[in-house]
C-alpha cells in the first residue's frame, strides 16, 4: 500500500506490505518522521490509503465507508495512545464502560470494573482522569482498549509519556494481557527494550520497510 498527503505531493509510505498472524506481536520502529504512526493509523482505518489494500481478516477495510470501519474498530480493534486520551469529564469506570456500552453488551459496568480491577485500579473507579497519575491514566486507557477483547491492539508509543518504573509496569500488563487473551499487537515504539518484547520487529525508513524480522 501507499500513503500520500497534500494531493499526492508528499509520499509518507511507499509499497508497504506485510501480514500479521493471529496472536502475533509486532513492533514498528524507526526514526521520527519515518511513517510509523501513519502506518498504524492506516491499519486502524483512521486514515485512507492512497493506493493498495488493507485487509482485516477477510474484509478489505481500505474500501469501506467510515461507518463500516467504525463498526470493525468498535468490535475488533483496540487502540492505545502515547498521551492516553481519556475523556476528561468521564470517570475511569465510565471511560472503560463506554466501549462496552456502544457495543450494547450486558453488564457493561460490571465488566469494566473487572478489567480495572485486573489492572490494579479497583480503588480508582470513580476518579476523573485529572485525579489519576500518568501510569494510572495509561492503565485505564489500556483497559478501555482491551475491554472488548479485540483481536488486534494498536499501540502508539504506549510508554512514551511514562517514567521507567511505570514503563515496566505498563509493558508487562499489556503483554500479559495479550498473552492471556490471545490478541495480536502492532506497537510503534522508540524503546528498544519494549520492541524486544515483541515477536517481530519491522523497521521503517523514509516510508519503506527496511527490515522485517
Amino acid at each position: 500500500m501507499n500513503y500520500t498527503i497534500d494531493n499526492n505531493s508528499i509520499n509518507i509510505l511507499k509499497n508497504i506490505s506485510f501480514e500479521v498472524d493471529y496472536k502475533e506481536t509486532i513492533s514498528i520502529v524507526g526514526e521520527s518522521g519515518s511513517g510509523k504512526t501513519s502506518l498504524i493509523m492506516l491499519i486502524g482505518g483512521l486514515e485512507k490509503i492512497s493506493a493498495g489494500n488493507i485487509f482485516f481478516k477477510d474484509s478489505e477495510i481500505s474500501n469501506m465507508t467510515e461507518d463500516e470501519i467504525s463498526e470493525i474498530r468498535r468490535k475488533n480493534i483496540g487502540i492505545v495512545f502515547q498521551s492516553f486520551y481519556l475523556i476528561p469529564n468521564y470517570t475511569a469506570l465510565e471511560n472503560v464502560s463506554l466501549s462496552l456500552e456502544i457495543n450494547k453488551l450486558d453488564n457493561a459496568t460490571q465488566k469494566a470494573k473487572e478489567i480495572l480491577d485486573r489492572f490494579g485500579l479497583s480503588n480508582r473507579f470513580n476518579n476523573l482522569p485529572s485525579q489519576l497519575s500518568g501510569g494510572e491514566q495509561q492503565r485505564v486507557a489500556i483497559a478501555r482498549s482491551v475491554v472488548m477483547k479485540p483481536e488486534l491492539i494498536l499501540a502508539d508509543e504506549p510508554t512514551g509519556n511514562l517514567d521507567s518504573e511505570n514503563t515496566e509496569n505498563i509493558s508487562s500488563l499489556l503483554f500479559n494481557y495479550i498473552k492471556d487473551e490471545n490478541a495480536s499487537l502492532i506497537m510503534v515504539t522508540h524503546d528498544n527494550n519494549l520492541a524486544n518484547l515483541t515477536k517481530r520487529k519491522i523497521t521503517i525508513k523514509d516510508g519503506v520497510i527496511s527490515e522485517n524480522q
Binding site: E66, D67, Q82, I87, I102, N103, K104, S145
Partner: protein, 844 residues
C-alpha cells in the same frame, strides 16, 4: 437510529450536559431570557383570552343584551321578555359632576350607569361602604362615584355634588364594575339609581344616552330556544341591536386589539433577541466542541461514528432546551399578577395564568428552530475532527461547516420560523417587513465587520503599541469583531429606533396641547342656548378663539342601497362609522384643515338634494366612489344623499372633525344642537362650575386633562417598550461576553507573552478600549442610519407626525450602552490579565 441507541446516546448527552453545563451557560442564559419574553407574551395573551371567554357573560352583563340606543325600550316588548327571563335595565349617559361645597369647586366629565335593583345579573360590583349599592334605588338622588372622581374632586362620603343642576349625595365609592366597555374602560364613571333618569336632561347628543336591557335566562339549558323567542320578538325592529356574550364588550375588544398589537411587537422583540442569541449560540457551541476536540476524537477512535457523536450534541441541546422552555414558561406565570395589577385593575378583569400545552409547545418549537438553525454548521464541524489527531497530539481549530444541504435546511427552518411569527400576528405584512429589515441589518453589520477587518489589515497608520495590539486583535482569524458588531449592532438599532419613535411621539403629543388643541370641548349646546353660550365665553375672555358648529346624529344605514353591515366587517379600520349613529355637521366653506382630495365642494344649484363630504380614509376603507349614494337615518327618517367629495381628515389635531359633512342648504332645517371648541387666551378666566350653573346639561371635556391621561399612559407604554427592547442589547452583551470567554485561552497565552515581554496592564487594558471604540463607532454609525430611517418612516407614515433627530435621547442611549459594553468587556477581560506562568509553560 434504534430506540436502544437513542437511549444510550441520551444517557451520554445527559451525562455530558450535567458535567459541562457551565461551558454553555451563555447559551442557557440567552435562550432563557428570549424564551421567557415569548412565554410571558403567550401566557398573558392566553390569560386575557380565557378571561374574556370565561367572563363574556359578566362583561356583557347578561346572557343577552338588547340595545335600544338613545330610546327607551318598548315596554310591551320588554314585558314579553320578562315573562321568559330576568331583565335589568341599564341606562348609560355622560354628563358633568361638580362639587358645590369645596374650595375651589371642581368638575368632572363622567359616564354614569343608571341601574335598577336587578343589577348586576352577572359578576360583582366592588364598592364601599357595605350596602351603598342597594341604597341607590331606595334613596333618591344618591350616587356612587369611582375612585378617581372621589380623589380628584376631594370628596368624602355623604358630600353633596351636582349632576347637571340637581344635587346628589355621594354615598360610596365604586371600584370595579363587572360589565365594562366603551367609556367605562379608561374614563371616570359613576352609578346611580334608575329614578335619576327622570330628573336629568338627557336628550342632548352630548349625553351619549344609551338604553340597554340585560337579560338572564332562568333556565339556561333552554337558552337557544329562548334566544329564538327573543329574536322573534324583535324580528321587525331593525333599530334594536341584540348582543351576545361572544361579541360583547366593545371596549374590551378594543383593549384586546391594543394588547394584540402590543404583544405582536413584543413577539418581534423576543424573536430578535432569540436570533441575536442564535449568533452567540453558534459561537459558544463551536468553542464548546473545540474544547471537546480530543474527546470526540477518542469517541471516533473507539468506533462511534460522526453521525452518532452529532446526535449526542443535538441531544444535549434538546435536553437543555426542554429544561429552558419549562423554566421560561414557568417563570412567565410570575409576571401575570404584575400585568394583572397594571392592565386589569380598572377593567374589572381578573387575569390568572393558566397552563397551556399549546403555548409551551410553541415556546419549545421556536427555541428548537432557533437552536437548529444556528447549530447546524457548528455541530457539522464535528466531521472535521479526526481520530488520527490523537496520534499526532495536534488538534486543528474547528470552523463552521456549511454544505448545500445544511444551508438549504437552515433556510427552510428560518422560513418556518418567520412564517410562524407572521401567521400569529394580526398584520403579517408588518411582521414580514420587520424580519426583512432585521436580516438586511444583520447582513450589513456582518459586512461592516469584514470591512473594518480588511481596512485595518492594510495597516495604514503608524500607531502606538496599544493601538497595534487592538488592531491585531480585531484582524486576527478568531476575532470577536464580527460577533460584537452583529449582536450589538442589531440590539442598538432596535433600541435607538424605539427611542426615536418614543421621544418624537411624546414631543409631538406634548407640543400639541398648547399649539394645536383647544382648551375645551363643549357638547350638547341647544339651539336656543347658542347666543348665551357665545356671550358667556366672550365675557370670560374676549380673545378666546371659538369654533361652534351644528351637530346632528345620523346613522349610515345603506351604501348604494345595501346595508354596509352585511359586507363590511368589524375588523375594517373605519367600521366605527357604521357601528352606531355618528355625529354629522355642515359648513358653507371648505374647512382649512380638511382639504378636498377628490370631487368638488357643494353644488349650490341643488339645495334640495342631500350632498355628503366624506373622510377620504373612510372612502378608501369602504371602497366608496364619488357619486355613490348614502342613505342616512336622521331622527328615524331615511334620507338618501350623494357623496360629492373626499376630505383629508386629521383627527389627531383635536379640532372639530367629522367623518361626514352635509351641505348646509339641505341640512340647516334639520333640528340640531351645537358642538364648540374654545381656546382661551387666559384659561383662568373661565370657571367651569359657574358655567355649569347656567348650562347644566352641557358636557365639558377639558383637553389638557384628557391629553395628560393619554401622555401618562403613553409614557408608561414607552418605558415598558424601551425596557423590553433593552433585552436585545442585554442579550447582545451576553453574546459578546461569551465570545470573549470563548477567546479566553488565546487571550491568556497572548497576555502571558505580553507579560513576559514586559507590557503593563494599563497598555493591555488600553488595547481593549481601543478595540472596543473602533467597533462601537462603526456600530453607532450604522445603527443611527437604520434607526433614523425606520423611526422616520414610523413617525411620518404611521403616526403622521413630524420627525426630529432627538440629540439628547441619542446621546443618553448610545453613551449608556457604550459604557455598559465597555465595562463588560473590561470586566470579562480582567480575569485574563494576570495569567499564571507556570501552568502555561508546563502546558497544563
Amino acid at each position: 437510529m434504534k430506540i436502544n441507541d437513542l437511549s444510550l446516546y441520551s444517557k451520554y448527552a445527559f451525562r455530558d450536559l450535567i458535567r459541562s453545563y457551565s461551558k454553555i451557560l451563555s447559551i442557557i442564559i440567552t435562550l432563557l431570557i428570549s424564551l421567557f419574553i415569548l412565554s410571558t407574551i403567550l401566557t398573558i395573551e392566553d390569560s386575557l383570552e380565557n378571561e374574556l371567554n370565561e367572563n363574556s357573560k359578566v362583561l356583557l352583563g347578561g346572557d343577552l343584551e338588547i340595545d335600544y340606543n338613545k330610546r327607551e325600550g318598548d315596554s310591551n316588548l320588554i314585558k314579553q321578555i320578562e315573562n321568559i327571563s330576568t331583565v335589568s335595565q341599564v341606562v348609560e349617559f355622560s354628563t358633568m359632576i361638580s362639587t358645590i361645597e369645596k374650595k375651589p369647586n371642581k368638575t368632572s366629565f363622567t359616564r354614569i350607569k343608571a341601574i335598577d335593583q336587578n343589577y348586576p345579573l352577572y359578576g360583582d360590583v366592588i364598592f364601599e361602604p357595605v350596602g351603598s349599592l342597594k341604597k341607590l334605588n331606595e334613596i333618591d338622588n344618591t350616587i356612587l362615584v369611582n375612585e378617581n372622581i372621589f380623589k380628584n374632586l376631594n370628596l368624602k362620603i355623604n358630600d353633596i355634588v351636582k349632576v347637571q343642576n340637581k344635587k346628589f349625595k355621594v354615598i360610596g365609592v365604586v371600584k370595579v364594575l363587572p360589565d365594562i366597555g366603551g367609556a367605562f374602560v379608561f374614563g371616570d364613571f359613576a352609578l346611580t339609581g334608575k329614578k335619576t333618569l327622570d330628573k336629568l336632561e338627557l336628550n342632548t347628543l352630548g349625553s351619549f344616552l344609551n338604553y340597554e336591557y340585560k337579560i338572564k335566562f332562568d333556565d339556561y339549558k333552554n337558552k337557544d330556544k329562548k334566544i329564538n323567542e327573543i329574536k322573534k320578538i324583535f324580528k321587525n325592529n331593525d333599530k334594536v341591536k341584540i348582543r351576545y356574550p361572544e361579541n360583547s364588550a366593545g371596549g374590551i375588544k378594543r383593549i384586546k386589539r391594543i394588547i394584540d398589537n402590543f404583544s405582536q411587537f413584543l413577539s418581534l422583540v423576543s424573536i430578535s433577541a432569540m436570533l441575536i442569541a442564535g449568533i452567540g449560540i453558534a459561537n459558544t457551541l463551536l468553542s464548546f466542541i473545540n474544547q471537546k476536540n480530543s474527546s470526540i476524537a477518542v469517541q471516533k477512535a473507539i468506533g462511534i461514528n460522526s453521525g452518532n457523536i452529532k446526535t449526542i450534541y443535538y441531544l444535549q441541546l434538546l435536553i437543555s432546551l426542554i429544561f429552558i422552555s419549562l423554566v421560561a414558561y414557568g417563570l412567565s406565570f410570575f409576571l401575570v399578577p404584575v400585568v394583572d395589577k397594571y392592565i386589569s385593575d380598572g377593567l374589572g378583569l381578573n387575569i390568572e395564568a393558566s397552563f397551556s400545552l399549546t403555548n409551551l409547545f410553541i415556546v419549545f418549537v421556536v427555541g428548537l428552530l432557533v437552536i437548529i438553525i444556528f447549530s447546524i454548521p457548528t455541530v457539522n464541524s464535528i466531521d472535521q475532527i479526526k481520530a488520527s489527531s490523537l496520534f499526532r497530539n495536534v488538534f486543528q481549530s474547528l470552523q463552521f461547516k456549511y454544505s448545500k444541504l445544511s444551508i438549504s435546511l437552515s433556510l427552510l427552518l428560518l422560513t418556518i420560523l418567520v412564517s410562524l411569527f407572521a401567521s400569529r400576528s394580526s398584520i403579517p405584512t408588518y411582521s414580514l417587513i420587520y424580519f426583512a429589515s432585521f436580516f438586511i441589518c444583520l447582513a450589513v453589520f456582518f459586512y461592516v465587520s469584514r470591512f473594518i477587518i480588511l481596512l485595518l489589515r492594510k495597516n495604514l497608520l503608524n500607531l502606538g503599541i496599544s493601538s497595534k495590539i487592538a488592531i491585531k486583535n480585531i484582524t486576527q482569524s478568531k476575532s470577536i469583531t464580527p460577533i460584537t458588531v452583529m449582536s450589538l449592532g442589531l440590539g442598538m438599532t432596535l433600541l435607538l429606533t424605539l427611542a426615536f419613535v418614543g421621544s418624537n411621539f411624546k414631543r409631538e403629543i406634548a407640543k400639541s396641547i398648547p399649539e394645536i388643541a383647544p382648551d375645551y370641548f363643549f357638547l350638547g349646546i341647544q339651539n336656543n342656548q347658542k347666543n348665551l353660550f357665545k356671550k358667556i365665553i366672550i365675557d370670560a375672555d374676549k380673545e378666546a378663539i371659538m369654533e361652534i358648529v351644528p351637530m346632528v346624529s345620523a346613522g349610515l344605514v345603506k351604501i348604494n342601497g345595501i346595508d354596509p353591515n352585511t359586507y363590511i366587517s368589524n375588523s375594517n379600520d373605519s367600521y366605527w362609522v357604521i357601528m352606531n349613529d355618528r355625529r354629522v355637521s355642515w359648513v358653507n366653506t371648505i374647512p382649512k384643515d380638511n382639504p378636498i382630495l377628490e370631487g368638488s365642494w357643494w353644488d349650490t344649484s341643488k339645495p334640495n338634494k342631500l350632498q355628503i363630504s366624506l373622510d377620504s380614509k373612510v372612502a378608501k376603507d369602504f371602497g366608496v366612489n364619488i357619486g355613490d349614494k348614502f342613505t342616512l337615518r336622521i331622527y328615524g327618517r331615511e334620507i338618501e344623499g350623494e357623496v360629492v367629495n373626499f376630505r383629508l381628515v386629521n383627527y389627531q389635531d383635536l379640532s372639530i372633525n367629522f367623518a361626514m359633512l352635509l351641505n348646509p342648504q339641505f341640512a340647516e332645517n334639520i333640528p340640531h344642537e351645537y358642538l364648540s371648541t374654545i381656546k382661551f387666551k387666559n384659561i383662568k378666566s373661565f370657571n367651569e362650575v359657574n358655567f355649569l350653573d347656567k348650562f347644566p346639561s352641557v358636557s365639558i371635556i377639558k383637553i389638557s386633562d384628557y391629553l395628560s391621561k393619554v401622555t401618562d399612559v403613553l409614557n408608561k407604554v414607552f418605558i415598558a417598550v424601551s425596557i423590553i427592547s433593552a433585552v436585545t442589547v442585554i442579550i447582545g452583551l451576553v453574546v459578546i461576553s461569551s465570545a470573549i470567554i470563548v477567546q479566553g485561552k488565546i487571550k491568556i497565552f497572548q497576555n502571558l507573552v505580553f507579560k513576559i515581554l514586559g507590557f503593563s496592564k494599563k497598555e493591555i487594558i488600553m488595547s481593549s478600549i481601543i478595540e472596543f471604540i473602533i467597533s462601537f463607532l462603526s456600530i453607532i454609525f450604522f445603527s443611527t442610519i437604520f434607526s433614523v430611517l425606520a423611526s422616520k418612516f414610523i413617525i411620518e407614515n404611521i403616526f403622521q407626525l413630524k420627525w426630529l433627530f432627538e440629540i439628547n435621547m441619542f446621546f443618553y442611549v448610545t453613551i449608556g450602552v457604550g459604557v455598559a459594553t465597555l465595562a463588560l468587556i473590561i470586566i470579562t477581560n480582567f480575569r485574563y490579565l494576570s495569567p499564571k506562568v507556570y501552568p502555561l509553560v508546563r502546558n497544563e
